[in-house]
Amino acid sequence: MRPLNHAPTVEVTVNGEPRTLEPGTGLEELVAALVPRYVADGTPQGVAVALDDAVVPRGSWATTAVVPGARIEIVAAVQGG
């Protein structure tokens, strides 16, 4: 993870709510930390992530850094329709 201008914290929005992260937090760590119930044997299941209105494919989570001001959506399938 690249350092983010030596900022002590990174302010982002996750599912519409403000959240403070450690600098250098990657998307994969973030999902594992925030929604552990969707991670089985280290592999996220039934969950998808958008960063600033663009879907981040599962394979890119590990290499995607979360930058200050990022808007992150974490969604899953629920009953409906």
Binding site: P36, Y38, A50, D53, V55, V75, A76, A77, Q79, G81
Partner: protein, 281 residues
């Protein structure tokens, strides 16, 4: 799209279903009844209802995970594991999307989360009527087809709009019978019949079903399938209603293929007048 031909007499219903499958985008779906999962009181009842309905394709919605609760899923998130256990194919929808942008992003998220390119596309005009926005719907459908999705759009009961959706490459069209959750049945049977007659892709009546006869009528009008949720999940006895819907869809399909008698103005005796008694009483 419906094919009318005469099945052999005396054939069992199960055989009829097996020999006359619903095929969407080259994939055979084991039942012409597509279920939604919205509105169920709890997962146990929903599971029993899904089994009783015989459905092989079932919609799910995409929603934000409750991050504040430490990743605790919303109470209705167990649907994913349930469908996997029952071997039912999940059809993610874009319910709640009012713009093309929202619908397209939601479809992309659904593809990533659910591992399927199939999407029930909804672009809703407003939250009072819950009617599809025709212009946004066609635009979103065209975009998603281009992005490689198998698009099943929830549409109005308008034959021309259905044609446009087919033209941009949708794998099926799903016209409403009546507004979502209204239970009013098929309000414009002539339009539904016209859509079914003209379509080259499967037509699935979606929304408005209240009871079993509505589902049977949709099939008799030439639809290839019926999608319903509320009519089952909010019935007093969802499991019994699910079974009723299964039978209604099968009955309606059989009737459509059997070729009904023409309607006529007057009575027509079914017993021959030959050899009847002629008593001068």
């Amino acid at each position: 799209m419906t094919t009318l031909h005469n099945p052999a007499p005396g054939r069992a219903t199960a055989q009829d279903v097996a020999e006359d499958p619903l095929v969407i985008a080259g994939t055979t779906i084991g039942s012409r009844l597509v279920m939604g999962t919205g509105g169920a009181a709890n997962l146990l009842t929903l599971e029993d209802a899904l089994v009783a309905s015989g459905t092989a394709l079932t919609t799910v919605a995409m929603r934000r995970v409750a991050v504040r609760a430490g990743g605790e899923a919303s109470p209705d998130a167990g649907i994913w594991a349930l469908l996997a256990r029952l071997g039912i194919r999940a059809l993610p929808n874009t319910a709640g999307c009012f713009t093309v942008r929202e619908a397209v992003l939601t479809a992309h998220l659904a593809r990533e989360a659910c591992g399927t390119e199939w999407v029930k596309l909804e672009v809703i005009a407003d939250d009072v009527t819950l009617l599809p926005d025709p212009l946004g719907l066609v635009e979103a459908a065209e975009q998603l087809v281009r992005d490689g999705f198998v698009v099943l759009p929830y549409t109005n009961d308008d034959p021309i709009l259905a044609r446009r959706l087919e033209d941009v490459g949708c794998a099926a069209v799903m016209p409403l019978g009546a507004p979502i959750g209204s239970g009013l049945g098929v309000l414009n049977p002539r339009n539904i019949e016209a859509i079914a007659a003209a379509a080259r892709v499967p037509v699935i009546l979606d929304a408005g079903i209240g009871t079993a006869s509505d589902a049977a009528l949709a099939m008799e009008l030439g639809c290839d399938g019926v999608l319903l949720a509320t009519a089952v999940t909010r019935a007093a006895d969802p499991v019994r209603m699910a079974r009723a819907m299964r039978l209604a869809v099968e009955s309606g399909r059989l009737a459509a293929r059997a070729g009904r008698i023409p309607r006529r103005e007057g009575a027509l005796a079914s017993s021959s007048p030959e050899g009847r008694l002629d008593l001068a009483l």
